[in-house]
């Protein structure tokens, strides 16, 4: 009897733990950045300009990390462009950061999907590391004070974009990060 209790108790607890483990994604890295001020950076854009994050203070920033070889980025590209067209007038700036990619491929991607919002290349990966990027695509939404209100990993849908941009315009910080189907960085 003692054996059964001594072994059965911890065994049942462990089995319960493994059952819990079946429900989560083991590769996910939860972010500590929500609610924290966004790290400033300077991004060299594709059209030659240099854009610094400080310039965009006072507007809501939709920061999207992408790469041309990532199918989910392709899936959400047109949605993002449409959202940009809608929110352009409302103090929202869309900014795309291309990581781990070749310049021609990135430009071809932008041309294919007709992206008009500013995009730049993060060649050394510093900006990606500063935002703890580990999957593609990843999106951060910054409010007017430069605080990160939301992070989403994976392709974004229209509803999520509008909801979260609405929240950011009012300065509400999300409680949870969002997750869709993603690819890992290289």
């Amino acid at each position: 009897m003692r054996i059964l209790l001594a072994v059965g108790g911890p065994a049942l607890a462990l089995l319960g733990l493994f059952a819990y483990g079946l429900t989560r994604d083991p590769r996910a890295i939860p972010t500590p950045l929500i609610g924290k001020p966004a790290t400033p950076f300077t991004l060299p854009l594709f059209d030659g300009r240099q854009l610094s994050l400080e310039e965009l203070r006072g507007k809501v920033v939709f920061l999207n990390f992408w790469a041309s070889w990532c199918p989910r980025c392709r899936a959400e590209a047109r949605t993002l462009e449409a959202a940009w067209q809608k929110y352009q007038a409302q103090d929202v700036v869309f900014l795309g950061v291309n990581i781990q990619d070749r310049e021609e491929a990135a430009r071809a991607f932008l041309q294919e999907f007709g992206i008009t919002y500013p995009n730049g290349r993060d060649t050394a990966g510093k900006i990606a590391i500063a935002y703890g990027v580990w999957g593609l695509p990843e999106t951060f939404i910054l409010d007017r004070e430069g605080r990160i209100t939301y992070k989403h990993i994976g392709a974004l849908g229209w509803t999520t974009i509008t909801t979260k941009l609405g929240e950011a315009l009012q300065g509400i910080v999300s409680t949870e990060e969002g997750k869709g189907e993603y690819l890992q960085v290289r």
Binding site: I3, L4, V7, G8, A11, L15, L17, G21, L22
Partner: protein, 653 residues
Amino acid sequence: MTATVGYSSLVLALALAGWGIAAPLLGARTGRQAFFASARGAILGQFGFVTLASLALIYALVTTDFSLKYVALNTTRATPIYYRVTGLWGALEGSLLLWEWVLIIFSGLLAWIYRDRHPELMPWVLLIFSGVSAFFLAVMAFASDPFERVFPVPADGRGLNPLLEDANMLTHPPLLYTGFVGLTVPYAFAMAALISGKLDEAWILTTRRWTVAAWFFLTLGNLVGAWWSYHVLGWGGYWAWDPVENAAFMPWLPATAFLHSIQIQERRHMLKTWNLSLIILAFSLTIFGTFLTRSGILSSIHAFSSGPVGLLFLGFLAVVVLGSFGLLAWRADRLRGQPELDAVVSRESVFLLNNVVLVAALFTIFLGTVFPLLSEAVAGVTVSVGAPYFNRIVTPLFLALVFLMGVGPLIAWRKASLDHLRRNFLGPAALALAVRLSLFGWRLRDFWPLLAVTLSAFVALTIGFDTAKAVRARRAIAGGRLPAALATLVWRNQRRYGGFVVHLGVVLIVLGIAGSMGYSVGREAMLQVGQSLSIDRFHIRFEGLQASQQPTHRRVEGRFRVTNKGHEIGVLTPALKYFPTQPSPIGRAMFRSTLLEDLYLILSGFSEVDEGRATLKVLVRPLVAWIWVGGAVMTLGTLVALWPFRPRARQET
């Protein structure tokens, strides 16, 4: 047609497995002998059908029958034939079929060899085997079918995971699976002993060789895995404390503990409950290992893609653990013995310490592997437990084990007097201390490597002293020359000298690990053509890149000329392989191995713009080759221990 044959064979084997479970129960109920005989028939029938199914899948793989989804996902027309055969265990469904096949081969062998012996135990042994077999067959029949078809039939397959295209794919999984499944044999006998109530040492004596063989395959499987990681994965290391690597290593620990503490049970009839617990633990850990690999609860390079299989394995694990320990609890009063020891210092207590250290190591590795899950469930914080933690915490335990390895084989059974300790250990201990002091003087001052070398020297010296005394005594008794005396000694004391050789192998592995973990150096640099990098005594000159197209991938090689203090050694060509299905290239490191050290070259990257620029990472790792030498010595030792020298021994097992 192949799919129909394969799938229906699996289903028929499942039906037979069901009968194999029912028959002994019916036989026990009604007392009719026929039922027990038919249980044996059920096992042999399962063997036939599962072999048929495995051959069907191999046939489909070899003929690239892409109407089977498994074949379409794991081969292409261009895959060489030996990789098509290894595709049998390259993905989830096929690996389940391989496990089942090895299991049914073992049970068929047992059913045949023991067909006229152990009449009280064998029906229950076969019931356990049928039970485990039924589980794997049910998973294959209902949840992850290797013979699932795909429509429309693709013209070409997707291909094996490029990391698996290596010669080790032929050896590592089969060896490891044989080790895992081999542990089912003592488990089945233990359960049979508990069920039938025949709790003397008969089952231990019968299964001893099977357990040693299973332990051996498990050791070899782990070592070949480490070798594969070292020379294929291209990061220069052999053990990453990956959750699946840990899961393959964990059954080894209670199996080793079991092999030592059954010697106490054989001589003193003590520790019966403990030994049964150890073997249940070992088997449960093998099931836990397959669960971990197939459920996706921990991220690992080895993990198969998951599905509903995880939940099924969890259920089976629950049944095995709770059922086995329940049986043990039920028979606990019958197992209670009258443990007595003659003295506190004796081989019995040293073996007990050995067990404590092994189980503590098991607990540590298990806790570390499972802790991220625990932390997330309880505290909501995602943490990682990786190599720095394991190396730090596990090293002292294994060094304590090395020390016990030196003491255990020599110290006397029952009672070790102070005089006995002095005679046997003073010499080796003093010499080991001398070795330590001289290494200290030679400027090897770091604590852990120094301790490792000292203890290794101690073990080697104890073995040497003991063998020398024994050979001298044998020559005094029977005359004859040295080799003959040694041969007679080994022939008469197989277990003992086989154990000595295995311990020597472990010592060599410990030396290899101590050298490579403590004293590796590495450098990474971007080189232009003609530039050199120097590390340690080596000078490496970059000579250029070369691109080529291989059957399955595009390859970019870098040529590096290596000189050692002026003597030219040769040209090494680490490469990067670009596969169409992989987003990033797979590295192919090249290394030059000597007994003293390994020079390891990794091509980290190259500039696509500038033809003549490449990033090179170099590692110099001392003493790594001794790990593989130690593995070979352990193989030799196991053969010595198991070889049927005596004709009388052929009667059993």
